[in-house]
Amino acid sequence: MVLGTEDATPVSFWFAVSPGASVGMDDLVTVRTRKPGGQPVSFYGLVDAVRTRHEGVTFDSDVQDVMAGLLPASVSYAARVLVTRVDPEDFIPPQPGDEVRQARGEALALALSADKMDYSFPGGLLADGQVLPVNYGFVNGEQGGHINISGISGVATKTSYALFLLHSIFRSGLLTQRGEGHTTRALIFNVKGEDLLFLDRLNAKLGKKEGDFQERKGWQEGRYARLGLPAEPFRDVQFLAPPRAGQGDVIVPDVEQRAAGVTPFVFSLREFCARRMLPYVFSDAGGSLNLGFVIGNMEEKLARLAAGDDAPSLTVDDWQPDTEVLLSENLRFDDMGKTRIETFAALVSYLEYKLLDQNDGEGDPRWVLKQNQGTLRAFVRRLRGVQKHLAPLVRGDVSAAQAERYRPNVLKSGVQTSVVDIHKLGGHAQSFVVGVLLRDLFEHKERYGRQDTVFVVLDELNKYAPREGDSPIKDVLLDVAERGRSLGIILIGAQQTASEVERRIVSNAAIRVVGRLDLAEAERPEYRFLPQSFRARAGILQPGTMLVSQPDVPNPVLVSYPFPAWATRRDEVAEDVGRDVEEVGEDWLGI
């Protein structure tokens, strides 16, 4: 019953728990009150605090007398409710004494505003095992878009939840309902380990993990069954990885755990120039105005240089590198008398020559454009710095057919999920890949409009779009965040600390998810959408539980989601038999 000793308001009230009943945080409840005229008003809400105390005693030490059986006292067990919905929207307070009941079935759907959602997919299980619906309209860009996930690495399992959401979107029948099954895709950047290279394989531990959980809860059915999702790995996945360093005709993906099924990707040197990828090499271009000018200038020059041909390499006629280049057998007539630039290193050397060496150190005046020597040097120095990381990725020594074959294409037909593995690349190269791929995607979408939805999963947003400073990749991400939803590019971003990510990216996310947070972090303004009690709890969340906030429901909801059905490392792959259970278990526990 609603308490009369605490204020009951239309947004929050306390209620007394009857003896024998048990109420915990996150339980959903409903109260019905009547206006003096007799019209009913229902309140739906979420328990956000529970407490017990001795009633009728004055001193703290009285508890000893109560326990010794001398002092009569009663235990008052009360819970606070944050109202998520008032129906009809008649904001009168509930009356003390109104009965509070657990929300189930239809009441639950109303509590979570499920009736307002045209299309929804399961976002996890509530504490009592009921399904949380997430409004797809706020995910795919129709009413809102983007998902943002915050939490400490390792314990917050941000990537797992992002993948679970994708799995849920793809496989809950939602897309079939909407007739979009074949056009909705995902682009996942793998930034940590080779965790995501086994998304298409069944997880060997799934049965045991979920079985244990089911047994502990005493449920009739497992979590996947409750969610209405198949316990299956991802389907139609392509894996892209950068090639191994070192020259040669054979391009091999630079991955260790997975032997087959990973496609390497490269950009041809001509593409690099023609498609103006140069700015993405510099992640801190905003640091100096002059440097930005030089980059823009070079970008333009290279684009002009690359125009008019389609061979993967570039040819220039005004430069002779120091080393003798043997005539190779596939020399074309056009190339006669010209120098072919086949590697990223050569390109950098060429730029160095044009900017600093030509004309006895004056540089080519049309390239230099009266820029300060120091700035030019800084430009070249930076290029040299990333040369090692980018050399395997940007190549001119591949054949046209190879360039075509290994060009990353995340919109390839028949592919629903593309995993781009960038964890082995250096920081600059990672930014480069992410920036270039997103830019391509964005430009493609701008040209062809929103025919389909692409979900982009990117962890460590604070690295790509930090709050301070400017970079081309941050611009792309901002574009995605601000305009992407109208074009059908949806960012599922994650970061450890939302306070360090560009504010506009986080604030554009309609759905926000929080896993375990550092308590100091939880007090920052980025987490104001969490009520105070939830901020305190974010510090004790266990892996596998998340606080989900969506626009339809004014308060966040705690959900748990099942163990991944897909393998997250090689030793979890179901086919991989031969290791005994103990070893696998130890591995899992990190012993």
Partner: protein, 347 residues
């Protein structure tokens, strides 16, 4: 000549009488347990005594009224409420203490010869319950008569509750079937003259009458906590009231306090026949030291510590709560009268 010494009366100053001024008792006092006048050590509480009830009552006059009935008769009256209740506890501490029968009753006491209907006070807010006042005839037309009637009703309810709960006390030597399993502690002196037959102990917190002759008073100051005096049989001056009485000390008196602070007088009903001490009375006296020391409250929690027992304090607050807020009740009464007879309703 002894030096001058000042000691504090342990009772708060707003309590009437206090302990320092004691009246002399003029009835009869007979040693019935033993002729030896000395401290009796406490005994441990027997396992078969499984329940102790602490009973108390409380009353409140809520409004004095002037009544006129439909036949033109007029007289004084009053709206009042009383509560009696008990705390049910295990002296061995094996289960939580519980409140029992704490429920307020409301009376409209009025002068005799009036026709008064029961009064039902409905609140404006339907969530807050109704108050029902039952008419009861007071003895006499004195303005204080309704209050006395209320007090009487409370006392008799208290007695009934006390005796209904406790083990029965056998009255002759041949009857020893009844063992002490349930004991009632009742706040204050046992007021009735006749014995209802239950194992009920009245405990008197403030001593206003000195029953002991001067040569025996010294023992009271010497008692150690838990120790008691031997049981005596007491007959009042009028000869109408007979009791068994003994004294128990609950705690050491601090050096600055009256030497008798922490001493409590206990009494039980006694037959007129002064030769027979029922064994159950001796048993009650034996356990009283340990039991009361266990129930005694602490000074920082209760200004009447240690005599105001822990369960009693809890019971008192539960009883006040059961009667409801006096301000609200008075306001409800006023609103009722205004609604019934006035030009318009007021809050």
């Amino acid at each position: 000549m002894a030096p001058m010494r000042i000691r504090l009366d342990p009772w708060p100053v707003d309590m009437e009488g206090g302990q320092l001024g004691l009246q002399r008792f003029e009835g009869d006092l007979i040693d019935i347990e033993t002729p030896r006048w000395g401290a009796v050590a406490p005994r441990s509480i027997p396992a078969r005594l499984h329940t102790v009830y602490v009973v108390d009552g409380k009353r409140r006059m809520e409004s004095r009224v002037f009544l006129e009935d439909d036949e033109g008769e007029a007289g004084m009256g009053g709206f009042g409420a009383y509560v009696v209740g008990a705390v049910n506890l295990c002296p061995h501490g094996s289960r939580p203490a519980e409140l029992e029968n704490v429920r307020a009753r409301r009376l409209l006491a009025h002068a005799p010869g009036l026709r008064v209907d029961p009064c039902l006070l409905s609140p404006r807010d339907p969530h807050t319950g109704q108050l029902q006042y039952t008419p009861i005839v007071a003895e006499g037309t004195d303005p204080l008569a309704p209050l006395h009637k209320l007090q009487q009703a409370m006392l008799s309810a208290e007695q009934e509750l006390s005796h209904g709960l406790a083990s029965a006390v056998p009255f002759d030597e041949g009857d020893d079937r009844e063992a002490l399993t349930a004991l009632t502690l009742q706040d204050g002196t046992l007021r009735r003259r006749s014995n209802l037959g239950g194992a009920v102990v009245g405990y008197v917190k403030t001593m206003q009458t000195q029953y002991l002759p001067p040569d025996r008073v010294g023992l009271l100051s010497e008692l150690k906590p838990g120790e008691r005096t031997p049981i005596m049989h007491l007959t009042s001056k009028t000869g109408k009231t007979t009791r068994f009485i003994w004294y128990v000390r609950l705690c050491e008196a601090a050096f600055y306090q009256h030497p008798m602070s922490g001493v409590m007088r206990l009494e039980m009903y006694a037959p007129d026949d002064s030769d027979f001490l029922p064994p159950i009375v001796r048993e009650v006296a034996n356990v009283s030291g340990e039991l009361l020391c266990r129930l005694a409250s602490r000074a920082h929690k209760d200004p009447r510590a240690p005599q105001n027992l822990i369960p009693t304090a809890a019971l008192e607050s539960a009883m006040s709560r059961a009667m409801g807020s006096a301000d609200l009740v008075t306001r409800r009464l006023r609103a009722h009268i205004a609604g019934q007879y006035g030009p318009g309703a007021v809050a």
